[in-house]
């Protein structure tokens, strides 16, 4: 029998659908994918190296640039690690503000996910709606810290500025708007038969595979493994809030989409509880101007919007970290891409990239 050659297609780094500068080398047999290899490094800025030559305070703005759609969570991860290293106790109010901001950021990030998934499926209108609502969250950030994406708000020892009443009031308004917003998404595309058919049953990643590839975040939860660091290895004041960890059953694109959808709802619930019980008091611990943690190393992780974001920091007793390693969820999650895309059509591969939700700022670091 005659053997046909496989068609090698380079998707990216400039491609309308790949998120940022992800390049995927796809081997095609007709329109079916035989093999796909992610190629990265186009956005490598060497943040780990840059941090080695900056003081701990100066490192925080660099974490904004990792996963630039969920900068609050990144700030929190780094600051949490440094606080652990230097033994700083964070005030109560700051912890609550952190939770509110991080969960708002989770909503915003998941909206980016929904938006980019929809544009990859060719529904530009849905994307605009998702981004329109994300804008409301960004406006909230603009009120509280003066920046929309690179917030640099959570600092070592607390938060830099107190949350104003205006912010809390506007947040309440947004939380009240969330159910209505999700209903509109449901009406426009969740119930849409074309959308369902494209997502259901495609690019399945089983629980075993997800564990094997060390995946985390919504991607592993969609496969049915309840692994949420907020729940199992709680940090901050997350243990005081009542929230569920939505899990999927099959681990297909549809599950990964629904998980994020439900997480927006849960995040809104957490924010509501935090708003109801936010205490008064200081928002910043007493932190020396020049921070000099003792010798040692620490690993601290938080549940970023994309999974488990961890900072491994080695201190040599000076004002600058000796070594920083960033455990980035998107980077690890990309390992599953080949398994997910095998045997699928090209159009599904695009949906698979979108549902794995890698963010190149974080992958390339």
């Amino acid at each position: 029998m005659a053997q046909t050659e496989h068609y090698i297609l380079n998707m990216g780094p400039q491609h309308p659908s790949t998120h940022g500068v992800l390049r995927v080398k796809v081997e095609l047999d007709g329109e079916r994918i035989v093999h796909c290899t992610p190629v990265m490094g186009y956005l490598h800025r060497g943040i780990e190296k840059l941090m080695e030559s900056r003081t701990y305070t100066q490192c925080v703005p660099f974490t904004d640039r990792l996963d630039y759609v969920s900068s609050m969570n990144n700030n929190w991860a780094f600051c949490g690690a440094v606080e652990k290293l230097a033994g700083i106790e964070v005030p109560e109010r700051a912890e609550y503000i952190r939770v509110i901001c991080a969960e708002l950021n989770r909503i915003a990030s998941h909206q980016v996910f929904i938006g980019s998934l929809l544009i990859d499926l060719g529904a530009a209108t849905g994307m605009i709606y998702a981004f329109r609502d994300r804008e409301k969250v960004l406006d909230l950030f603009n009120i509280i810290c003066g920046a929309r994406m690179t917030c640099h708000y959570i600092r070592i020892g607390g938060v830099i500025k107190d949350a104003q009443d205006e912010f809390l009031k506007e947040t309440q308004k947004f939380v009240d708007y969330v159910p209505q917003m999700l209903q509109e998404y449901d009406n426009l595309f969740t119930g849409n038969e074309i959308f369902m058919e494209r997502l259901k049953g495609t690019s399945i990643i089983t629980k075993e595979d997800a564990l094997r590839f060390n995946m985390s975040g919504p991607n592993i939860r969609a496969s049915g493994h309840e692994y949420d660091i907020r729940k199992i290895d709680s940090y901050g004041v997350y243990d005081r809030f009542d929230f569920q960890v939505p899990t999927g059953t099959k681990g297909d694109n549809w599950d990964r989409y629904r998980i994020r959808f439900e997480e927006i709802r849960e995040s809104a619930r957490i924010i509501q509880q935090a708003l109801d019980s936010i205490p008064a008091g200081p928002y910043m611990a007493k932190v020396p101007k020049v921070l000099k943690p003792a010798k040692g190393d620490v690993y601290h992780r938080v549940e970023n919007t994309r999974g488990e974001l961890g900072f491994y920091i080695v201190s040599d007793g000076t004002t600058k970290p000796y070594r920083v390693h960033i455990h980035r969820p998107s980077f690890i999650n990309l390992q599953a891409l080949d398994t997910m895309c095998k045997g699928l059509l090209l159009a599904d591969a695009v949906a698979a990239y979108a549902t794995v939700d890698p963010l190149m700022g974080e992958v390339d670091c």
Partner: protein, 133 residues
């Protein structure tokens, strides 16, 4: 029934077609910036500045370059205060570091420029220009 979701979706877009628009006519109509907004040029109050260079030291990306002169009363004054927008992270660390609270943002977000050289400006010169007006 197959197709119900499609019709529901058509209804949503139909409603929005006639509904209120969210965007604005940009250059004519500008969104107001918040009180804490970080962006634009640094506004330097030349009189207040004590030339301690803490802002330049606090900057994580070396975007600020201050030249200081000591006058006859042994007081330090900034002669040049060059802020490079191309390097700036807008992280607010310089403003937080300032002991005399002499710098702030001008909140002008239209900072794009045609030439790379325009990204650098001297805040002292801008301050003097403002005073003349």
């Amino acid at each position: 029934m197959w197709g119900k979701g499609l019709i529901e979706g058509m209804r949503v877009t139909w409603k929005h077609f006639w509904g209120k628009k969210e965007t604005v006519y940009y250059p004519e109509e500008k969104l107001p910036m918040t009180e804490r907004f970080r962006g634009g040029h640094l506004v330097l109050d030349e009189k207040k500045c004590i030339g301690c260079k803490l802002c330049a030291m606090g900057c994580p990306n070396a975007a600020i370059e201050v030249t200081v002169e000591v006058d006859e009363n042994k007081k330090r004054h900034p002669v040049k205060y060059v802020h490079d927008l191309g390097r700036c992270l807008y992280c607010d660390l310089c403003i937080e570091a300032c002991p005399s609270k002499c710098i702030s943002w001008d909140k002008n977000y239209e900072a794009a420029s045609y030439f790379k050289e325009d990204m650098k400006y001297d805040a002292v010169a801008e301050c003097r220009g403002r005073e003349k007006q």
